[in-house]
Each structure stands twice: as structure tokens, then as C-alpha cells.
């Protein structure tokens, strides 16, 4: 049968539905970008204009890398969807503002080219690209990533408390002093260190906390040492709340992370040394229920991680149940790394580790279909 003319005038045929919600990926990405700006502004204020350069170099590198990779892969170049810009910005936020330009370029390029495009581009990556970039530079350029975290000398802290002269982050101060106390208590003449050592473990820990922990106020506003964009808890919280309001991230994921971190940081024991000058006795003790939960969620990358890193859609579980498991996992790992691990900060690695478990979590949290079997 010859192909006959089917109709006079042809209309467009597509599958249903024929209407679509006014939402798309660029809107989501640029919203995240905008919500990150306040925290970066505080970072620039605290660390000085060099922070802005780090941000700009990182974003520019990320976008160039995105362009190169997409051209190489022969797919449509989608710089305007904002996903590369967000990755670049996030990468800048989780490294030191005092940085060499090539470290920024390496890390940012790694984020996009390896962590994202080597896996198939947006939506296919296993790890959060920015954090993968951070882990890469931390392994490759350890000296710059762990040695100095200076902040502008002319910045006054909100609480009036002086900044640590070493430029160490609040988490590092606390951790290293606690470790020091263990060594001191065992030393021959511990009486010289009565400014650190107390008569028992609890007293020592109190002393260390009083001396070394930054005030809640400073941590909240962001006038502490730390990575470029992670210090200002209030600005990150603000951005996070806006994202929750627009439904871009779910409230329960950051909340689970923060609650788990706070609870475990309070409960789990820290190892400190003590010395009793009267009796001359000394020892090492594990102090339980002595952590400061608020300090732990305000300090370091916890806020940035909870609201902007862990909530990355691509690398987090898809169901509510899965996200809660994921959040608890991040909280547990963060506290374990912070208290007992080799690094003072554990948010980055805990998120990366939990990213790895996402396919598994998704598999075991698949919702039960309406009316029956799972």
C-alpha cells in the first residue's frame, strides 16, 4: 500500500503531560549561587581582598574546565546553567583564602574535569565535585591546606577575644591543646603547665575549652580563622533557610546532620591529661559528656557542609528516609574524625564517604509502592 497522505495539516504530537511546572536546572543552580553569596561576603571581609581573588579564580577555572570538557565530550555546552559556577564557588569556600593561585586552579579544575565530567557530567557524578576537589588539593598540597589559616590582622573579633596567633582554626586549637595535655601530663614536671592541666580530666577539659575555643558569637558571625566561606554560620544559615523555603533543599537533611553532630560531640569522650599539684599524681582520662554541641555545629565546615555540600542533589539520596540515614552518617563520621581522627575537621571526608554509600542507601530505602510490595 503506498504511503497515503495522513492529514491536511499536522499538529505537534508529544507524550503527556502537556504542561510543565515553571522550574528548571539553571534556576536551581543560580538560586544556590545567590544563597551562597552572603557567606562569601563575610569571608572577603574577614580575609581581605585576596579572598575575592580566590573566588574569582576558582569560578573562572571551573567554567573554563566545564567548557573544555563539554567540547571534548561533544555535548552541548551549558555554562549558563550555573552548575559549574556553583562548583567553583563552593570549592573556593572550602579552601584557605591564603592560597597560591595554582592550587586554586588545580583544585577547581579537578572538581569539574575529574570529579564531574569523567563520570559523565551533571547528574552522573558520585562525589560532590567541590569536596572532591578539596580532598585532591589537601592530598597534593598539604602544606598550604593545613599550615596557615590567617585572617586579616585588622579585623576585630565580635567578642573581643584575640585571634589565635598561629592562625589555627578553632577546631584545630581545641584538638591540638587536648592532645598536648595528654603529653604534658605524662611529662616529668607537669606542674609547669597548670594553665592547661587541671586536677582531673574534667577540669583540664574546662580549662582548654575556656582558653582555646572561639566564642559562640565569633563563630556565629564568622570572625574566626577558617576556610574562606565556611566561617560565618549566620550567613550560611540564612542562605540555607532561603533554599529550604524555595524547596530546593529539604529541611530534614541539614537538621539531621546538625543534630547528630551536636549530640555526638556532646556525648563522646575526649582524651585529656591531668595533674594534681598537691599529691603530685597525674594521669590520662577520657572525659564523657563534656563536649560543647553548639561549638561543634558552628565551627569548621559544619554549616557549609550541612546546607550546601551534603544537600547537593546529585550526590545525596533521593528519598526522605535515605536522606536521614545519609545525614546521620555524616554527623557520626564528622564527630569521629574531629575527636579521634588525624584531622581536626571531618565534614569534607564524612560527606565524601557518605556520597559513596548513596546508591546503596537508595537501594534499601526505595519507597513501598502504593498498595503493596516494596
Amino acid at each position: 500500500m503506498p504511503e497515503e497522505k495522513i492529514a491536511e495539516k499536522l499538529y505537534t504530537v508529544t507524550s503527556s503531560p502537556h504542561i510543565h511546572k515553571k522550574i528548571n536546572i539553571p534556576w536551581i543552580m543560580w538560586m544556590v549561587f545567590v544563597c551562597l553569596i552572603p557567606a562569601g561576603a563575610v569571608g572577603i571581609y574577614v580575609h581581605g581582598i585576596k579572598a575575592l581573588w580566590v573566588i574569582l579564580i576558582s569560578i573562572a577555572t571551573a567554567m573554563i574546565a566545564e567548557y573544555i570538557c563539554q567540547r571534548m565530550r561533544g555535548v552541548k555546552v551549558t555554562l549558563s546553567d550555573g552548575s559549574a559556577a556553583v562548583t567553583g564557588l563552593l570549592f573556593a569556600y572550602c579552601i584557605s583564602a591564603e592560597n597560591y593561585w595554582y592550587v586554586v586552579v588545580f583544585g577547581s579544575f579537578f572538581s569539574i574535569a575529574i570529579a564531574k565530567h569523567a563520570f559523565g557530567g551533571l547528574g552522573m557524578n558520585i562525589w560532590n565535585p567541590a569536596l572532591a576537589g578539596r580532598a585532591f588539593v589537601l592530598a597534593s598540597f598539604g602544606f598550604i591546606m593545613t599550615a596557615v589559616w590567617p585572617i586579616s590582622s585588622n579585623i576585630q573579633t565580635v567578642s573581643g577575644q584575640p585571634l589565635p596567633t598561629s592562625g589555627a582554626t578553632p577546631l584545630r586549637c581545641l584538638k591540638s591543646t587536648a592532645e598536648k595535655s595528654v603529653g604534658l601530663a605524662a611529662s616529668k614536671d607537669a606542674s609547669h603547665y597548670l594553665n592547661i592541666l587541671g586536677e582531673n580530666g574534667k577540669q583540664t577539659w574546662e580549662k582548654i575549652r575556656k582558653q582555646e575555643a572561639a566564642s559562640w558569637k565569633d563563630l556565629f558571625i564568622g570572625t574566626v580563622s577558617g576556610c574562606l566561606g565556611e566561617t560565618s554560620a549566620v550567613m550560611l544559615l540564612l542562605g540555607g533557610i532561603v533554599l529550604i523555603f524555595y524547596g530546593i533543599i529539604k529541611w530534614y537533611l541539614p537538621l539531621t546532620i546538625l543534630l547528630t553532630t551536636a549530640l555526638l560531640a556532646w556525648i563522646l569522650p575526649v582524651k585529656v591529661g591531668w595533674y594534681n599539684p598537691a599529691s603530685g599524681a597525674n594521669g590520662i582520662e577520657w572525659v564523657w559528656f563534656a563536649g560543647d554541641p553548639l561549638f561543634h555545629i558552628l565551627a569548621g565546615g559544619c554549616m557549609l557542609g550541612a546546607f550546601f555540600m551534603a544537600t547537593d542533589m546529585v550526590t545525596s539520596p533521593i528519598t526522605a528516609k535515605g536522606q536521614i540515614i545519609f545525614g546521620i552518617g555524616i554527623g557520626v563520621l564528622t564527630v569521629i574524625i574531629r575527636l579521634y581522627g588525624g584531622y581536626p575537621e571531618g565534614v569534607c571526608y564524612s560527606i565524601l564517604l557518605m556520597n559513596t554509600t548513596v546508591p546503596l542507601i537508595d537501594r534499601y530505602t526505595r519507597p513501598k509502592v502504593f498498595g503493596g510490595r516494596s
Partner: protein
């Protein structure tokens, strides 16, 4: 709080163009195309020949088997052809084409049947419904007599009348409830007596308070104590059987099962109305009510249209705007886009929606945002389905409950990556059926 189900969306309703417009009787025209397949199941067999004279209500297509429907001549006139024409499903299918004589003479006089209506037995009523060719007129077009004769082992205790009309744009069920509230209640009572159920629930969405009042008033008369009318939260897809049952009586239809498995039968208001017409007037389905709307027509209306009227005539009447891109039979969420305006109105045509714009067809990788999972009324993981089906892994998709998807379109509606999830699912289902068939044949 108003009753509802979990999941779902609330797209812009777009009903204001037509919700206040009473039905207009659409003129007969010069050609009616009666498809032999206007229902789910086996197509009817044409039993008239070219040049044969027919009268309105005369059987022109005979049901073949149980899950099939009779097709009646929508008016009196001459059969000009029995040939395949374009079906709303896209391919050509057998149809009887009638040239109306303008007299519109009925096969028999229906006015006198009314008296004995109440004395009919359930079997007799079922026979009348079957002979009247009634199929689910909400759009699913499942033969009504099949739904009304459940297997002996299924105990039916509840009848739900669906007046939800959750699809955006459509208003014909709304108008029907306003115009024929009492008839719908009578129809519900007929179904009640056929099935022998105790309680009747009628569900109407909160955006039709006037219809709710009308139905409630009609149901407040004597002998209507078992009828409960519910005003439901406005949410799509509340008109889907499983979701409606969940919303009203909080029962879960088992996955892969039917409402009758949990003792429920659901009928649409328009089907109920035609059941009333069939029992009281012995009148077969020769026309239906529908909405013509969308930004592609200047004159959106609610119409009473003969079955078989070509869409082109209705578009002409509603003043089709030049440059309109899409013609959809049904609502915007589940309706079928048509390439030709020559397709005729069938028993399932609840609306004709004309849109000026086509959507962006470009789609991206899934970014796993989870919006589809949050909104899926069947609690599936549509993102996973779309990814596995995109890779052709029908076997995996089957494990992910592909067959439980009802293609409501919620996932594709909310997808920020604009993924055509429903299309993947439809294709996947077809491939799966093919595979199963091949396996069965071995």
C-alpha cells in the same frame, strides 16, 4: 482539613474560561465518524453496510465478547462508508461514517420506558447498560457493564462516584453536576441496587463548591441516607481511582489489583448520568458532554456533542487561533496529542484542549533532585525508572514496579531537567508487554 491522598501536585487550574458557561447543543453537521473502538477492549464489529439507512440509537457496531461495547448510530441518516479512519490513538481503525439526514429520528420512542424502571431486576438493568454501550466516560472508557458485574468472590460494599475532575482546564463534569445533580444521584442509586452495596460516596474537589452544594442538596432527599458527599482538597491526580478511594475511605488498592479487590467500584459522574439515561429512558450513548478550551481557541465552551463529530468542526466553531500548535484530547496532564484535526469525538473525549505553544523538548540528565519521588502518587521512583528505561533496561524497570505506573504525568510535570518520564514509561511498558508475549509464545 479536606480529605486527600499523599503525593500529587496542584498545577494551575485554568478552569475559569469555561466553568461558568452552560452547555451548548452542538449542531449535527454533515458527517459523523463512528469509530468501532471507543472503549478499552475488543473493537465492535460493524453490522451496517454502505448506503444503508440508520436511525438514531440503532446498533451499528456489535460488541465482540464481554469486554467490548455496542456502538450506536448517533443520528438518523445514511451510511456513506465503512472504512478505517484516524483514531485518537494515532493509527487508522475501522469506522462507520454516517451522513445525517437532518431528521434525527430515534429508533424507538423512549418516553414510555420510565414507568417500569424501578421494577427492573439487577440482571435486566445490567443488560440495558450493556446494550446502551456505556463505557467509562471520564476518559478511561472501560465498559461499564464489566465493572458492574464483579466476579462472585468479590464482595462489593462501597460505590464511589467520581466528580473530582482533577485535570486542569476541563469543566464538563462540573457543569454536568450543576445541570443534572438529581439525575446523577438517581444513576448512583441504580448502580447501588445493581451491586447491592450499602454506602455511596461522591467525591468533588474544593474548586467546585457550587457543584458540591447542588449534589449535596440532591442527595439530601429521602431514600438517600446512604449517600455521602465529600468536598476534597484540590489536588491532581485525585480523580485516579486508587487515589480517590484512598482520599475518601482510606483504603489501599493492592498494587497490581483493582478497586473491586477491596470491595469498591468507582464510576465517573458522566457515566453515572448515562446509566440513569439508559435505565429510565432506554437511551444508548449517542452524544456526550465535553469542554473545548485552551489558549488556542477564541471561544472556549462546554458542549453537548454527538459521538462521531469531527474535531475540526468543533475547532471551527470555537474559532481556532492561527498558529496553534497542539490539539489534545482530554486534559493537559494525561490527554493525547493529535496530529490531525480529523479525528472524531468518541465516548472518552472529555475535552479538546488547544495550546498555542509546544513545550521545550530538550531534556537533561536526571539531577536526582527527588521532586518526582516526593510527588508520585503511586510512591514509585520515577527518576530511576526513566534512567533505566533510557538505557533500555526494561527488565530492571520491571523490578522497579514499572507496571504500577498509571502515567499521571506528575513526575514529568515537576522535573527540573524536563525529562519525558511518561514517554519513557509508555515505551517501556509496550516493550515489556512485547517481551512477555514473546516469552509466552515459546
Amino acid at each position: 482539613m479536606a480529605k486527600t491522598f499523599s503525593g500529587g501536585i496542584h498545577p494551575p487550574e485554568c478552569k475559569q474560561q469555561t466553568e461558568n458557561k452552560p452547555f451548548i447543543h452542538f449542531p449535527l453537521g454533515d458527517k459523523l465518524v463512528c469509530l468501532m473502538s471507543q472503549h478499552i477492549g475488543i473493537p465492535a464489529k460493524p453490522i451496517v453496510k454502505k448506503d444503508e439507512k440508520v436511525k438514531r440509537g440503532q446498533v451499528i457496531g456489535e460488541a465482540s465478547g464481554m469486554v467490548s461495547c455496542f456502538i450506536h448510530a448517533p443520528t438518523s441518516g445514511t451510511v456513506v462508508a465503512v472504512e478505517p479512519v484516524i483514531h485518537p490513538l494515532g493509527r487508522k481503525m475501522e469506522a462507520v461514517i454516517i451522513q445525517p439526514d437532518g431528521e434525527d429520528i430515534w429508533m424507538e420512542d423512549f418516553s414510555k420506558c420510565r414507568a417500569k424502571a424501578k421494577k427492573l431486576s439487577a440482571q435486566e438493568m445490567l443488560k440495558i447498560i450493556q446494550d446502551s454501550g456505556i463505557a467509562g466516560m471520564g476518559g478511561a472508557t472501560f465498559p461499564s457493564h464489566v465493572k458492574l458485574s464483579p466476579p462472585k468472590d468479590k464482595v462489593i460494599d462501597t460505590l464511589i462516584i467520581n466528580g473530582v475532575e482533577c485535570e486542569p482546564y476541563l469543566t464538563c463534569d462540573h457543569r454536568l453536576m450543576l445541570d443534572f445533580a438529581e439525575e446523577i444521584i438517581q444513576g448512583a442509586k441504580i448502580i447501588q441496587s445493581i451491586l447491592g452495596v450499602k454506602q455511596i460516596h461522591i467525591g468533588i474537589e474544593g474548586n467546585k463548591p457550587d457543584a458540591f452544594e447542588k449534589i449535596k442538596q440532591a442527595a439530601s432527599q429521602k431514600e438517600c441516607e446512604d449517600i455521602h458527599v465529600h468536598l476534597l482538597k484540590v489536588k491532581y491526580p485525585q480523580g485516579a481511582e486508587k487515589q480517590l478511594i484512598k482520599a475518601i475511605i482510606n483504603r489501599d488498592v493492592p498494587a497490581g489489583g483493582l478497586p473491586m479487590d477491596i470491595g469498591v467500584v468507582v464510576h465517573n459522574v458522566m457515566t453515572t448520568y448515562y446509566i440513569y439515561r439508559a435505565i429510565y429512558f432506554n437511551e444508548p450513548v449517542t452524544e456526550r458532554y465535553l469542554t473545548i478550551t485552551g489558549d488556542g481557541v477564541e471561544n472556549p465552551q462546554n458542549l453537548r456533542v454527538r459521538i462521531g463529530t469531527p474535531i475540526s468542526k468543533i475547532l471551527e466553531y470555537a474559532k481556532l487561533r492561527p498558529g496553534s500548535k497542539k490539539i489534545i484530547l482530554g486534559g493537559p496532564m494525561m490527554g493525547m496529542a493529535q496530529y490531525s484535526e480529523e479525528v472524531p469525538v468518541t465516548k472518552g473525549t472529555s475535552g479538546i484542549l488547544v495550546l498555542q505553544d509546544t513545550q521545550d523538548m530538550d531534556y537533561k540528565n536526571c539531577i536526582r533532585c527527588g521532586a518526582c519521588v516526593d510527588h508520585c502518587p503511586m510512591r514509585l521512583v520515577p527518576s530511576e525508572l526513566s534512567i533505566t528505561l533510557q538505557r533500555g533496561r526494561v527488565d530492571l524497570a520491571e523490578q522497579y514496579n514499572l507496571m504500577d505506573c498509571m502515567e499521571c504525568g506528575v513526575c514529568a510535570y515537576v522535573c527540573p531537567a524536563n525529562r519525558p518520564i511518561v514517554q519513557f514509561v509508555k515505551l517501556g511498558k509496550a516493550q515489556l508487554m512485547k517481551q512477555r508475549k514473546a516469552k509466552g509464545a515459546k
